[in-house]
């Protein structure tokens, strides 16, 4: 079985062969790995790669796997970003800034339509008792800033755009 996974916009092609119930041979780039695999439960996997032990939690949905390992998480897309965008692969000419957490807008430091520098603070978002400055990811014109101080925002909400 051949599959492709994308990590950080890079494609990784895997060739998987099941040798025994719990043994796989996997080709990844130029290397071949011999894996023993034990599923502790649906999502908890104990991998033995040529004798070396790795504990991984793999949470999957239709578009991606999130692998938790050694205190970190790795998001592996089942399709590339360009496939997700419908194969257009257009260059992004504007930059949306979205919330990565729910929170409360404490202050707006820059107005819509103004020029901003890269790294310039645009607004202050409070969550878990900390105030975080949300900065512009690039130089440009600030647009789509529709909030006012005191507004509550959810995860993944568009805060503003820099065009």
């Amino acid at each position: 079985m051949n599959i492709s996974l994308w990590f950080d916009n890079e494609e990784f092609r895997l060739g998987l062969n099941r040798m025994e119930e719990n043994k796989f041979q996997v080709k990844l780039k130029d290397r071949t790995f011999n894996l023993s695999v034990e599923f502790v439960n649906d999502h908890e996997i104990l991998l033995n790669v040529d004798g070396r032990i790795h504990n991984a939690i793999v949470c999957s949905n239709t578009t991606s796997h999130t692998v938790f390992m050694n205190g970190r998480s790795f998001k592996l897309e089942k399709k590339s970003a360009s496939q997700i965008l419908g194969g257009i692969g257009e260059k992004q000419v504007r930059k949306d800034v979205k919330t990565s957490m729910p929170g409360r807008i404490v202050d707006i430091l820059t107005r819509e339509g103004e020029n901003v520098e890269e790294g310039q603070a645009v607004l202050i978002l409070e969550a878990m008792k900390m105030q975080n400055e949300i900065k512009s990811p690039r130089a440009g014109i600030l647009t789509h800033l529709k909030f006012k101080p005191g507004d509550l925002v959810d995860t993944g909400v568009l805060l503003f755009t820099v065009e």
Partner: protein, 503 residues
């Protein structure tokens, strides 16, 4: 098992510290009573308490900061004493006053002392009077922008702007030049208002290459005050403590003793009672200056417990009950070395953005000598957005500092908190750093570290891809099985339908 003066103690807090106090109560034969907000209905401190009562809505002001609600519960359930933990109402003189009025023992000092030490300007003035060295700066809060500029130029840049009621690294700004003064003042005032409901701000000289070192003290009703050594708290990120250790690899025995004696004198000068912490800033020449006194338990109290063997929460409760101190200064004999990592729900790869949410998988480290994990979470718990991001405190002890560090690294390597982002990978970076290992650091350590490339975790990518690959394979196979099963069900139904058609 003698009965203790208190039968029931209400814990006016949440998270790991509420759990910590509940455990101490249970070990003393005291009934621990929890309170909880809507977001905390299933929180660990509720589950481990013996009694628990709701506070209502999740926002702090309607729950853990609501003095009236908390005192009503205390009266209703007949708690003889109240433990405030840290944060929330722990240093609120109003709560203490109300307790004093209602005859409920507040596990902490008198309202008078809480009030003096709660205002940084008042405490600086009090210490100045008692002959304790303080950091150069304003004694009174800053009046206006004019005074701001005047004082800054008088003291000399860089200066620190500090919220008078501040603490825990909130309401604090370093200002390097005149042009940043006014915007910084606004920011500090706003944070101070929202965190402490008090927008007054004062100014201190900024000490270069500073160490942040504090002394733990214990003081009883009989005027006896002892100190339990220091905690090195210089590993800070944006003025928030990240990792603490004892003993400090920076101090020498002479300075340590002097600081201990000064801390005892500071406590005596205000007739302090309770566990308490005197914080100092220490410059590169080991000159030390009083910064503030925390009239409560500190987040980092466990490292002192690990080396002294003394349970500080039990001591607090005993002191509040009017018992004399367990031991004399001579009987305090620290052994070995201890570190604490504050594991936060924050994403170290994304500028430490808060990361609330559900903990889908939790495997805390345990076992072996010298590992302790003070936690407020469990698998399945949803870390609320409303409160601070501290998930757990991982504490290690070793015969030597090196052993404590290596033990901590071992424990961190076992610690699995998945579903949300945590600062565990960041601690591995700190502990692996040669400068940290040598004990050669000051409060700039983290800022310098963040400039370095983080190469950790890169080597795991390949294994993660292999794991996801195998998962895809297995998922596909079980999907195929399912479709086959569906197919056969369909066939079966088709056949039974066929039957029914015949009749």
């Amino acid at each position: 098992m003698e009965t203790f003066p208190f039968k029931k103690v209400l814990i006016a807090n949440r998270g790991e510290i509420a759990v910590r106090v509940i455990r101490a109560c249970r070990e003393m034969g005291i009934i621990p009573v929890a309170v909880f907000s809507d977001a905390d209905k299933k929180a660990l401190h509720v589950r481990l308490a013996e009694e628990a009562y709701p506070l209502g809505a999740s926002s702090p002001s309607e729950s853990y900061l609501n003095i009236e609600k908390i005192l009503n519960i205390a009266k209703k359930c007949r708690a003889e004493a109240l433990h405030p933990g840290y944060g929330f109402l722990a240093e609120n003189p109003e709560l203490v006053k109300h307790c004093e009025k209602e005859g409920i023992h507040f596990i902490g000092p008198s309202s008078r002392v809480v009030k003096i030490m709660g205002k940084k300007t008042a405490s600086r003035a009090a210490m100045l009077n008692a002959g304790i060295p303080i950091v150069p700066g304003t004694i009174e809060p800053l009046l206006d922008e004019k005074e701001l500029v005047y004082q800054a130029e008088k003291i000399g840049f860089p200066v620190l702007l500090k919220a008078t009621s501040g603490g825990g690294g909130k309401g604090l700004r370093l200002v390097n030049r005149k042009s940043e003064l006014i915007s910084s003042l606004k920011l500090v005032r706003s944070e101070a208002m929202s965190s402490f409901n008090d927008e007054s701000v004062y100014m201190e000289k900024y000490i270069e290459e500073p160490h942040h070192i504090e002394i733990q003290i214990l003081a009883d009703h009989f005027g006896r005050v002892i100190h339990l050594g220091e905690r090195e708290c210089s590993i800070q990120r944006r003025y928030q403590k990240v990792l603490e250790e004892t003993p400090s690899p920076f101090l020498d025995e002479d300075t340590r003793q002097k600081m201990g004696q000064i801390a005892v004198r500071a406590a005596q000068s205000v007739e302090y009672r309770n566990a308490g912490t005197v914080e100092f800033v220490v410059d590169k020449n080991k000159n030390f200056y009083f910064l503030e006194m925390n009239t409560r338990l500190q987040v980092e109290h466990p490292v002192t417990e690990m080396v002294t063997g003394i349970d500080l929460v039990k001591c607090q409760i005993e002191i509040a009950a009017g018992l004399p101190l367990r031991c004399s200064q001579e009987e305090v004999r620290p052994r070995g070395s201890s570190l604490q990592c504050r594991i936060h729900a924050e994403d170290p790869d994304l500028d430490f953005m808060p990361s609330p949410g559900e903990i889908i998988h939790l495997r805390p480290p345990s076992g072996g000598l010298g590992i302790r994990n003070d936690t407020g979470i469990y698998e399945g718990f949803i870390v609320p957005l409303e409160y601070d991001p501290l998930l757990s405190k991982l504490i290690s002890w070793g015969e030597t500092r090196e052993e404590a560090i290596l033990r901590m690294l071992r424990a961190l390597s076992e610690y699995q908190i998945y579903g949300i982002k945590t600062t565990i990978p960041f601690f591995k970076r700190i502990l692996h750093h040669p400068k940290f290992f040598k004990g050669d650091y000051n409060t700039h350590f983290i800022a310098d570290l963040e400039k370095e490339m983080d190469m950790n975790g890169k080597q795991d990518t390949q294994i993660a891809i292999l794991a996801a690959g195998v998962k895809t394979y297995v998922d596909n196979r079980s999907e195929m099985k399912q479709s086959r099963r569906k197919l056969s069900q369909w066939k079966l139904r088709g056949r039974s339908d066929g039957f029914s058609n015949r009749f």
